[in-house]
């Protein structure tokens, strides 16, 4: 069911989107939603117009991270209207979290229904004009993962960011994710290593809390760019918990410089993808 080489799907609601970035991880819990959120915020602070599509159907977190929980989704002629999370309307979000009546309800759906919803998310959201659409995919290589890939693959330019942690590297999940990208013909923008060490706020000692695998070495072995390491930062974690704009509020924290330089590299790599 793959599109023929050179064939493009009718772009529809994605016609106004200049770049699509898939954020992937081999395992859940490596901070993929954190990276998706902070990447979107960092791009916004570079003056870009950004959309976030949260297709983690069973565990949507991004509405919480952007203090958008409970927002209502409205319908327009072209489909669903994404939720704007800032006053300037330069960052918008669509998530299954907005569609659940009860936030504590368990979403236990078999594959076909999930696939249909993912496809609907991709085709039926009226994004308008965006510089970047950041897609927070479900973790791992499973049904929803494949459905997301299949729904988005006709659109170009499409690039993948693989998020990992030192421990995820050591247990082989990232290699599987990179194998997945290769098998499915998805272009990898680069690898980001999250939770890379923690600096004690009391004595400045740096500890490798989560093991000692190397995302950088793995990226080199796999022949894909390494975009940077993001340290464990309790200010970042708390910021996400409270739905605040970490990029704007904590410019002196340890994670800030890592995130902004990663965003710059992503912009550079996505531009190169166009040529």
């Amino acid at each position: 069911m793959e599109a023929a080489a050179g064939e493009r799907a009718e772009p529809g609601n994605l016609a106004g989107v200049r770049h699509i970035i898939l954020v992937l991880s081999g395992k859940g819990g490596v901070g993929k939603s954190t990276i998706s959120t902070e990447l979107a915020l960092a791009l916004r602070h570079q003056g870009k117009k950004v959309g976030i599509l949260d297709v983690d159907l069973c565990g949507p977190s991004i509405p919480h991270m952007l203090r958008a929980q409970g927002k209502a989704v409205h319908q327009c002629d072209n489909g669903w209207v994404p939720v704007f999370v800032d006053q300037e309307q330069s960052i918008s979000l669509m998530s299954v979290g907005f569609l659940l009546e009860n936030p504590d309800e368990a979403v236990v759906w078999r594959g076909p229904k999930k696939h249909a919803l993912i496809k609907q998310f991709v085709s039926d959201v009226a994004w308008g004009q965006l510089d970047y659409l950041v897609v927070d995919t479900p973790p791992g290589t499973s049904d929803e993962h494949m459905a997301t890939m299949e729904a988005l693959r006709p659109y170009r330019p499409l690039g993948a960011l693989v998020v990992t942690t030192p421990q995820a590297v050591s247990i082989g999940d990232v290699r599987r994710e990179l194998t997945f990208c290769k098998k499915t013909g998805l272009q990898v923008i680069g690898v980001i290593e999250n939770m890379s060490g923690f600096t004690c706020p009391h004595c400045a000692e740096c500890t490798n809390v989560f093991s000692s695998g190397s995302g950088e070495e793995l990226a080199r072995l796999a022949g894909v760019p390494f975009l940077g390491s993001v340290p464990l930062d309790s200010q970042l974690t708390r910021s996400l918990e409270e739905g605040r704009d970490f990029i704007q509020e904590f410019p002196k924290s340890t994670a800030y410089s890592a995130l902004t330089s990663i965003a710059q590299r992503v912009v550079h790599r996505m531009s190169a993808l166009c040529s």
């Binding site: 395992k27 859940g28 819990g29 490596v30 901070g31 939603s33 069973c58 565990g59 977190s61 919480h64 989704v73 569609l99 659940l100 009546e101 009860n102 504590d104 309800e105 368990a106 979403v107 236990v108 759906w109 078999r110 076909p112 229904k113 696939h115 249909a116 609907q120 973790p139 791992g140 290589t141 499973s142 049904d143 494949m146 942690t165 030192p166 421990q167 995820a168 050591s170 247990i171 082989g172 290699r175 599987r176 194998t179 997945f180 098998k183 923690f198 004690c200 004595c203 000692e205 500890t207 490798n208 989560f210 093991s211 000692s212 695998g213 309790s234 974690t237 708390r238 918990e241 409270e242």
Partner: protein, 320 residues
Amino acid sequence: MEEAPHGCPGADSAQAGRGASCQGCPNQRLCASGAGAAPDPAVEEIREKMKTVRHKLLVLSGKGGVGKSTFSAHLAHGLAEDGDTQVALLDIDICGPSIPKIMGLEGEQVHQSGSGWSPVYVDDNLGVMSVGFLLSSPDDAVIWRGPKKNGMIKQFLRDVDWGDVDYLIVDTPPGTSDEHLSVVQYLAAAHIDGAVILTTPQEVALQDVRKEISFCHKVKLPIIGVVENMSGFICPKCKKESQIFPPTTGGAEAMCQDLRIPLLGKVPLDPHIGKSCDKGQSFFVEAPDSPATAAYRSIIQRIRDFCNSHQSHAETLISP
């Protein structure tokens, strides 16, 4: 929105595929045909197989990366410290198997015998099964649709020769998905003692734990309790505590009070745990005096106590 799963009557219901809430669901045709309600003969076969397994525990988590597989591995190690206790660990995280690495069994293969697949043994009284043993390379990506994953889970439960087992620990994928439905359905006739739910302190993780709890209630799976992992970090140099994952809404403790579910314990973040997992060693052997080891042992004892009280209750019911 109509797409919300609210009101699904369930594939077993007479209303399957015919209810108002079924409109628009891609599964509607299948449910209406009644195929979904036909009992899988494997359920009965699995019930027979499970007669030699005294206690069955599921380990769940709302989010990935909260240490669920690490916990499952150490629950297995802890229970197996008593040489007379036979322990089995089943990894049904089909797309992201990590148990072989954590248990130091990478590169091991599964052997077929007359009684079925043989588990891979860490110790005489601790056997492990995972899809990781069936892959030819650690780089292999398992890209399977739901039905194939469900088929593998069926095989793991029906075709593995566990022998006499005191505790079967099932390490499940994060969240609630096909695999969870499958394992609960296949084990329904065999009786599951209960679920242990792993989380970390922050609200974004607790949000998903509430979904796990809701899932357990829906499928009538008893909840043994919640474990809060990565609960504070002690700096190895200055020994002061930091909250890397802040419990902004009170952590698992407040949530458990609200929902009247036992909090089995809190495990602090200890860098040695990750190192032990890298080496495929039990953290209990590597760092026996660590506060994390003490926390684990306390939690394991509470799980043991739950199973024992559960067993005597079952025995009371059985005796004429």
